[in-house]
Protein backbone atom coordinates (compact mmCIF):
# COMPACT_ATOMS: atom_id res chain seq x y z
CA UNK A 1 0.00 0.00 0.00
CA UNK A 2 1.22 3.41 -0.85
CA UNK A 3 -0.38 6.85 -1.09
CA UNK A 4 -1.79 6.11 -4.55
CA UNK A 5 -3.41 2.77 -3.83
CA UNK A 6 -6.72 4.11 -2.59
CA UNK A 7 -7.14 6.79 -5.29
CA UNK A 8 -6.36 4.28 -8.05
CA UNK A 9 -8.67 1.68 -6.56
CA UNK A 10 -11.42 4.25 -6.20
CA UNK A 11 -10.95 5.46 -9.77
CA UNK A 12 -11.02 1.93 -11.15
CA UNK A 13 -14.19 1.05 -9.25
CA UNK A 14 -15.99 4.22 -10.28
CA UNK A 15 -14.89 3.78 -13.91
CA UNK A 16 -16.07 0.18 -14.06
CA UNK A 17 -19.37 1.16 -12.44
CA UNK A 18 -19.75 3.91 -15.03
CA UNK A 19 -19.25 1.34 -17.80
CA UNK A 20 -21.85 -0.96 -16.28
CA UNK A 21 -24.28 1.95 -16.05
CA UNK A 22 -23.72 2.75 -19.71
CA UNK A 23 -24.20 -0.88 -20.69
CA UNK A 24 -27.93 -0.96 -20.83
CA UNK A 25 -30.05 -3.56 -22.49
CA UNK A 26 -32.77 -1.50 -24.04
CA UNK A 27 -35.20 -1.74 -26.91
CA UNK A 28 -32.29 -1.86 -29.32
CA UNK A 29 -31.77 -5.33 -27.94
CA UNK A 30 -28.06 -5.13 -27.66
CA UNK A 31 -26.09 -6.28 -25.76
CA UNK A 32 -28.47 -8.95 -24.65
CA UNK A 33 -25.79 -11.57 -24.68
CA UNK A 34 -24.18 -12.43 -21.36
CA UNK A 35 -20.79 -12.96 -22.94
CA UNK A 36 -21.03 -9.64 -24.74
CA UNK A 37 -21.62 -8.02 -21.37
CA UNK A 38 -18.62 -9.75 -19.81
CA UNK A 39 -16.42 -8.55 -22.67
CA UNK A 40 -17.54 -4.96 -22.32
CA UNK A 41 -17.34 -4.84 -18.54
CA UNK A 42 -13.80 -6.27 -18.73
CA UNK A 43 -12.78 -3.71 -21.32
CA UNK A 44 -14.40 -1.05 -19.16
CA UNK A 45 -12.26 -2.25 -16.26
CA UNK A 46 -9.12 -1.96 -18.40
CA UNK A 47 -10.18 1.54 -19.50
CA UNK A 48 -10.83 2.53 -15.89
CA UNK A 49 -7.38 1.25 -14.84
CA UNK A 50 -5.71 3.22 -17.61
CA UNK A 51 -7.52 6.39 -16.63
CA UNK A 52 -6.69 5.95 -12.95
CA UNK A 53 -2.98 5.27 -13.23
CA UNK A 54 -2.37 8.24 -15.53
CA UNK A 55 -2.49 10.76 -12.66
CA UNK A 56 -0.07 9.00 -10.27
CA UNK A 57 2.24 8.47 -13.24
CA UNK A 58 2.34 12.20 -13.91
CA UNK A 59 2.77 12.98 -10.22
CA UNK A 60 5.76 10.68 -10.06
CA UNK A 61 7.16 12.63 -13.05
CA UNK A 62 6.90 9.53 -15.23
CA UNK A 63 5.70 11.49 -18.23
CA UNK A 64 6.46 8.77 -20.71
CA UNK A 65 3.90 6.59 -18.95
CA UNK A 66 1.20 8.75 -20.50
CA UNK A 67 2.11 7.37 -23.92
CA UNK A 68 0.41 4.13 -23.02
CA UNK A 69 -2.85 5.99 -23.34
CA UNK A 70 -2.19 5.74 -27.07
CA UNK A 71 -2.13 1.99 -26.63
CA UNK A 72 -5.55 2.37 -25.06
CA UNK A 73 -6.76 4.32 -28.08
CA UNK A 74 -5.62 1.53 -30.41
CA UNK A 75 -7.19 -1.04 -28.14
CA UNK A 76 -10.57 0.66 -28.16
CA UNK A 77 -10.52 1.21 -31.88
CA UNK A 78 -10.26 -2.54 -31.98
CA UNK A 79 -13.44 -2.68 -29.88
CA UNK A 80 -15.19 -0.76 -32.61
CA UNK A 81 -13.97 -3.25 -35.22
CA UNK A 82 -15.05 -6.15 -33.08
CA UNK A 83 -18.56 -4.77 -32.64
CA UNK A 84 -18.84 -3.93 -36.31
CA UNK A 85 -17.78 -7.42 -37.39
CA UNK A 86 -20.03 -9.23 -34.94
CA UNK A 87 -23.09 -7.18 -35.77
CA UNK A 88 -22.49 -7.41 -39.52
CA UNK A 89 -22.23 -11.19 -39.24
CA UNK A 90 -25.42 -11.46 -37.21
CA UNK A 91 -27.29 -8.91 -39.31
CA UNK A 92 -27.83 -11.18 -42.30
CA UNK A 93 -29.97 -13.44 -40.14
CA UNK A 94 -32.28 -10.71 -38.90
CA UNK A 95 -35.79 -10.64 -40.38
CA UNK A 96 -35.39 -6.90 -40.69
CA UNK A 97 -31.67 -6.09 -40.74
CA UNK A 98 -30.13 -3.22 -38.81
CA UNK A 99 -28.26 -1.89 -41.79
CA UNK A 100 -24.63 -0.80 -42.02
CA UNK A 101 -25.18 2.77 -40.82
CA UNK A 102 -26.90 1.63 -37.63
CA UNK A 103 -24.16 -0.93 -36.97
CA UNK A 104 -21.53 1.75 -37.43
CA UNK A 105 -23.41 3.98 -35.00
CA UNK A 106 -23.51 1.23 -32.37
CA UNK A 107 -19.83 0.41 -32.90
CA UNK A 108 -18.83 4.06 -32.52
CA UNK A 109 -20.77 4.39 -29.30
CA UNK A 110 -19.09 1.29 -27.86
CA UNK A 111 -15.69 2.83 -28.57
CA UNK A 112 -16.60 6.24 -27.22
CA UNK A 113 -18.06 4.82 -24.02
CA UNK A 114 -14.66 3.41 -23.16
CA UNK A 115 -13.14 6.87 -23.55
CA UNK A 116 -15.84 8.25 -21.28
CA UNK A 117 -14.80 5.62 -18.73
CA UNK A 118 -11.16 6.72 -18.98
CA UNK A 119 -12.29 10.32 -18.50
CA UNK A 120 -14.39 9.42 -15.45
CA UNK A 121 -11.59 7.47 -13.77
CA UNK A 122 -9.10 10.19 -14.58
CA UNK A 123 -11.21 12.91 -12.95
CA UNK A 124 -12.05 10.73 -9.96
CA UNK A 125 -8.45 9.79 -9.21
CA UNK A 126 -7.28 13.36 -9.74
CA UNK A 127 -9.78 14.81 -7.27
CA UNK A 128 -9.06 12.02 -4.77
CA UNK A 129 -5.35 12.79 -4.80
CA UNK A 130 -5.71 16.57 -4.74
CA UNK A 131 -8.64 16.80 -2.30
CA UNK A 132 -10.21 13.83 -0.55
CA UNK A 133 -12.59 10.93 -1.04
CA UNK A 134 -15.77 13.02 -0.65
CA UNK A 135 -14.80 15.50 -3.33
CA UNK A 136 -13.80 12.54 -5.49
CA UNK A 137 -17.22 10.97 -4.99
CA UNK A 138 -18.89 14.22 -5.98
CA UNK A 139 -16.63 14.53 -9.03
CA UNK A 140 -17.42 10.95 -9.95
CA UNK A 141 -21.16 11.61 -9.88
CA UNK A 142 -20.66 14.76 -11.96
CA UNK A 143 -18.55 13.05 -14.60
CA UNK A 144 -20.91 10.06 -14.84
CA UNK A 145 -23.76 12.51 -15.37
CA UNK A 146 -21.76 14.32 -18.04
CA UNK A 147 -21.02 10.96 -19.68
CA UNK A 148 -24.69 10.07 -19.68
CA UNK A 149 -25.57 13.40 -21.30
CA UNK A 150 -22.83 13.00 -23.90
CA UNK A 151 -23.98 9.48 -24.59
CA UNK A 152 -27.62 10.24 -25.31
CA UNK A 153 -28.11 11.63 -28.78
CA UNK A 154 -31.21 13.11 -30.32
CA UNK A 155 -34.10 10.96 -31.40
CA UNK A 156 -36.50 11.11 -34.32
CA UNK A 157 -39.24 12.92 -32.41
CA UNK A 158 -36.93 15.92 -32.08
CA UNK A 159 -36.69 16.41 -35.82
CA UNK A 160 -39.86 15.11 -37.45
CA UNK A 161 -43.59 15.12 -37.02
CA UNK A 162 -45.06 11.61 -37.03
CA UNK A 163 -48.58 11.02 -38.34
CA UNK A 164 -50.56 7.86 -38.83
CA UNK A 165 -52.06 7.41 -42.29
CA UNK A 166 -54.04 4.34 -43.33
CA UNK A 167 -52.63 2.15 -46.08
CA UNK A 168 -54.52 1.97 -49.33
CA UNK A 169 -54.18 0.44 -52.78
CA UNK A 170 -54.53 2.14 -56.13
CA UNK A 171 -54.74 -0.83 -58.47
CA UNK A 172 -51.79 -2.96 -57.44
CA UNK A 173 -49.82 -0.03 -56.00
CA UNK A 174 -49.58 0.26 -52.21
CA UNK A 175 -49.68 3.82 -50.91
CA UNK A 176 -49.20 5.57 -47.57
CA UNK A 177 -50.94 8.91 -47.97
CA UNK A 178 -49.72 9.86 -51.46
CA UNK A 179 -46.36 8.09 -51.18
CA UNK A 180 -45.97 5.04 -53.37
CA UNK A 181 -44.50 2.07 -51.51
CA UNK A 182 -44.58 -0.96 -53.82
CA UNK A 183 -46.56 -3.07 -56.26
CA UNK A 184 -48.40 -6.03 -54.77
CA UNK A 185 -49.96 -8.25 -57.41
CA UNK A 186 -51.94 -10.86 -55.51
CA UNK A 187 -55.29 -9.92 -53.95
CA UNK A 188 -54.70 -12.19 -50.95
CA UNK A 189 -51.38 -10.46 -50.22
CA UNK A 190 -53.12 -7.11 -50.53
CA UNK A 191 -55.70 -8.20 -47.99
CA UNK A 192 -52.97 -9.38 -45.61
CA UNK A 193 -51.19 -6.09 -45.94
CA UNK A 194 -54.31 -4.05 -45.31
CA UNK A 195 -55.09 -6.25 -42.34
CA UNK A 196 -51.69 -6.34 -40.67
CA UNK A 197 -49.90 -3.28 -42.01
CA UNK A 198 -49.67 0.21 -40.58
CA UNK A 199 -48.70 3.37 -42.42
CA UNK A 200 -46.97 6.47 -41.07
CA UNK A 201 -45.75 9.67 -42.63
CA UNK A 202 -42.79 11.56 -41.19
CA UNK A 203 -42.80 15.25 -42.02
CA UNK A 204 -39.39 16.90 -41.61
CA UNK A 205 -39.16 20.09 -39.57
CA UNK A 206 -36.48 21.83 -41.63
CA UNK A 207 -34.06 21.51 -44.53
CA UNK A 208 -31.43 19.67 -42.46
CA UNK A 209 -33.93 17.06 -41.44
CA UNK A 210 -34.99 16.36 -45.01
CA UNK A 211 -31.55 15.03 -45.91
CA UNK A 212 -31.09 13.24 -42.60
CA UNK A 213 -34.26 11.17 -42.85
CA UNK A 214 -33.64 10.53 -46.54
CA UNK A 215 -30.52 8.56 -45.56
CA UNK A 216 -31.10 4.90 -46.34
CA UNK A 217 -29.29 3.80 -43.19
CA UNK A 218 -31.46 6.01 -41.01
CA UNK A 219 -34.57 4.60 -42.67
CA UNK A 220 -33.40 1.03 -42.15
CA UNK A 221 -32.73 1.85 -38.48
CA UNK A 222 -36.35 2.98 -38.09
CA UNK A 223 -37.62 -0.26 -39.66
CA UNK A 224 -35.33 -2.37 -37.51
CA UNK A 225 -36.25 -0.68 -34.25
CA UNK A 226 -39.96 -0.86 -34.98
CA UNK A 227 -39.71 -4.53 -35.94
CA UNK A 228 -37.71 -5.40 -32.85
CA UNK A 229 -40.03 -3.59 -30.47
CA UNK A 230 -43.43 -4.37 -31.99
CA UNK A 231 -42.61 -7.65 -33.70
CA UNK A 232 -42.86 -8.24 -37.42
CA UNK A 233 -45.40 -10.10 -39.52
CA UNK A 234 -43.12 -11.86 -41.95
CA UNK A 235 -40.87 -14.84 -42.49
CA UNK A 236 -37.99 -15.73 -44.73
CA UNK A 237 -39.29 -16.39 -48.21
CA UNK A 238 -42.09 -13.82 -48.02
CA UNK A 239 -40.47 -10.81 -49.66
CA UNK A 240 -43.87 -9.27 -50.36
CA UNK A 241 -44.27 -8.77 -46.61
CA UNK A 242 -41.28 -6.50 -46.21
CA UNK A 243 -41.56 -3.30 -44.19
CA UNK A 244 -40.46 -0.43 -46.40
CA UNK A 245 -39.84 3.29 -46.28
CA UNK A 246 -40.19 5.42 -49.38
CA UNK A 247 -39.68 9.08 -49.92
CA UNK A 248 -41.88 11.77 -51.39
CA UNK A 249 -39.55 13.49 -53.82
CA UNK A 250 -41.58 16.68 -53.80
CA UNK A 251 -41.21 17.68 -50.18
CA UNK A 252 -38.91 15.09 -48.58
CA UNK A 253 -41.56 13.49 -46.37
CA UNK A 254 -41.09 9.78 -45.89
CA UNK A 255 -43.79 7.16 -45.87
CA UNK A 256 -43.31 4.20 -43.53
CA UNK A 257 -45.01 0.90 -44.17
CA UNK A 258 -44.62 -1.59 -41.31
CA UNK A 259 -46.11 -4.95 -40.43
CA UNK A 260 -46.05 -5.08 -36.64
CA UNK A 261 -47.35 -7.92 -34.54
CA UNK A 262 -48.57 -5.46 -31.92
CA UNK A 263 -50.87 -3.27 -33.98
CA UNK A 264 -51.01 -0.28 -31.67
CA UNK A 265 -50.75 3.05 -33.47
CA UNK A 266 -49.75 5.09 -30.42
CA UNK A 267 -47.05 2.64 -29.40
CA UNK A 268 -45.71 2.61 -32.95
CA UNK A 269 -45.56 6.41 -32.98
CA UNK A 270 -43.63 6.32 -29.69
CA UNK A 271 -41.20 3.72 -31.03
CA UNK A 272 -40.58 5.64 -34.24
CA UNK A 273 -40.12 8.79 -32.18
CA UNK A 274 -37.45 7.21 -30.03
CA UNK A 275 -35.32 5.85 -32.87
CA UNK A 276 -31.89 7.42 -32.44
CA UNK A 277 -30.63 9.77 -35.13
CA UNK A 278 -27.53 8.11 -36.48
CA UNK A 279 -24.43 10.26 -36.40
CA UNK A 280 -23.43 9.34 -39.91
CA UNK A 281 -26.87 10.24 -41.28
CA UNK A 282 -26.87 13.78 -39.91
CA UNK A 283 -26.47 16.44 -42.58
CA UNK A 284 -26.38 20.16 -42.00
CA UNK A 285 -26.90 21.93 -45.33
CA UNK A 286 -28.05 25.05 -43.49
CA UNK A 287 -24.58 25.34 -41.93
CA UNK A 288 -22.91 25.56 -45.32
CA UNK A 289 -21.50 28.98 -46.18
CA UNK A 290 -23.16 28.80 -49.59
CA UNK A 291 -26.59 28.39 -48.05
CA UNK A 292 -26.04 31.12 -45.52
CA UNK A 293 -25.03 33.69 -48.12
CA UNK A 294 -28.24 33.39 -50.07
Amino acid sequence: MNEYTMPILFGVIIGTLARILMLRTDYRQYPTYLHGKVIHVSLGFIAASLGSVAIPAIMELEFTAVTFLTVAATQFREVRNMERNTLTEVDSFELVPRGKTYIEGIAISFESRNYLVIFTSFITTLTFIIFNVYVALFAAICSVTVSMILMSGKTMKNIVQIDHHPLHFKGAGLYVDNIYIMNIGLPERQEEILKYGLGFVLTPNNINTITTIANLGQRQAILHDVSVTLGVFRDSGTPALTPLIKRDLDDGRIGIFILPQIRDVNKAIKVIGSVPILESAIRMPSESTFTRKT
Binding site: A172, R189, A240
Partner: protein, 61 residues
Protein backbone atom coordinates in the same frame (compact mmCIF):
# COMPACT_ATOMS: atom_id res chain seq x y z
CA UNK B 1 -22.17 -4.83 -61.98
CA UNK B 2 -24.33 -7.34 -60.25
CA UNK B 3 -27.93 -7.58 -61.39
CA UNK B 4 -30.04 -7.27 -58.26
CA UNK B 5 -33.49 -7.75 -59.67
CA UNK B 6 -34.65 -10.31 -62.18
CA UNK B 7 -37.96 -11.34 -63.66
CA UNK B 8 -38.28 -15.02 -62.81
CA UNK B 9 -41.60 -15.77 -64.49
CA UNK B 10 -44.40 -14.15 -66.46
CA UNK B 11 -48.01 -15.20 -65.88
CA UNK B 12 -50.61 -14.02 -68.35
CA UNK B 13 -54.11 -14.68 -69.59
CA UNK B 14 -53.36 -13.07 -72.93
CA UNK B 15 -50.51 -14.84 -74.70
CA UNK B 16 -50.34 -12.23 -77.47
CA UNK B 17 -48.85 -9.56 -75.19
CA UNK B 18 -45.82 -11.49 -73.94
CA UNK B 19 -42.74 -12.92 -75.54
CA UNK B 20 -39.13 -13.41 -74.56
CA UNK B 21 -36.66 -15.03 -72.24
CA UNK B 22 -38.43 -15.55 -68.92
CA UNK B 23 -40.62 -18.62 -68.37
CA UNK B 24 -44.14 -17.75 -69.47
CA UNK B 25 -47.25 -19.31 -67.92
CA UNK B 26 -50.39 -18.92 -69.98
CA UNK B 27 -53.63 -19.17 -68.04
CA UNK B 28 -57.28 -19.29 -68.95
CA UNK B 29 -58.74 -17.06 -66.27
CA UNK B 30 -57.56 -14.34 -63.95
CA UNK B 31 -58.28 -16.58 -60.98
CA UNK B 32 -55.96 -19.24 -62.39
CA UNK B 33 -53.30 -16.60 -63.03
CA UNK B 34 -53.56 -15.41 -59.42
CA UNK B 35 -53.26 -18.95 -58.07
CA UNK B 36 -50.22 -19.73 -60.17
CA UNK B 37 -48.64 -16.41 -59.21
CA UNK B 38 -49.24 -17.14 -55.54
CA UNK B 39 -47.60 -20.54 -55.86
CA UNK B 40 -44.68 -19.22 -57.86
CA UNK B 41 -44.21 -16.40 -55.38
CA UNK B 42 -43.89 -18.90 -52.56
CA UNK B 43 -41.67 -21.27 -54.50
CA UNK B 44 -39.23 -18.70 -55.86
CA UNK B 45 -39.15 -16.36 -52.83
CA UNK B 46 -40.03 -13.58 -55.22
CA UNK B 47 -42.81 -11.02 -55.26
CA UNK B 48 -45.79 -11.20 -57.60
CA UNK B 49 -46.36 -7.83 -59.25
CA UNK B 50 -49.36 -6.92 -61.31
CA UNK B 51 -48.58 -5.01 -64.48
CA UNK B 52 -52.09 -5.05 -65.90
CA UNK B 53 -55.33 -6.97 -65.52
CA UNK B 54 -53.99 -9.83 -67.61
CA UNK B 55 -50.29 -9.78 -66.73
CA UNK B 56 -48.37 -10.75 -63.59
CA UNK B 57 -44.62 -11.02 -63.16
CA UNK B 58 -42.60 -12.68 -60.40
CA UNK B 59 -39.59 -10.58 -59.50
CA UNK B 60 -36.65 -11.55 -57.32
CA UNK B 61 -35.56 -8.55 -55.23
Amino acid sequence: MEIEKAILAVITTNSSIVEGGAPIFICETRKEAEDISANLEAITDGIAHELSEELFIIVKH
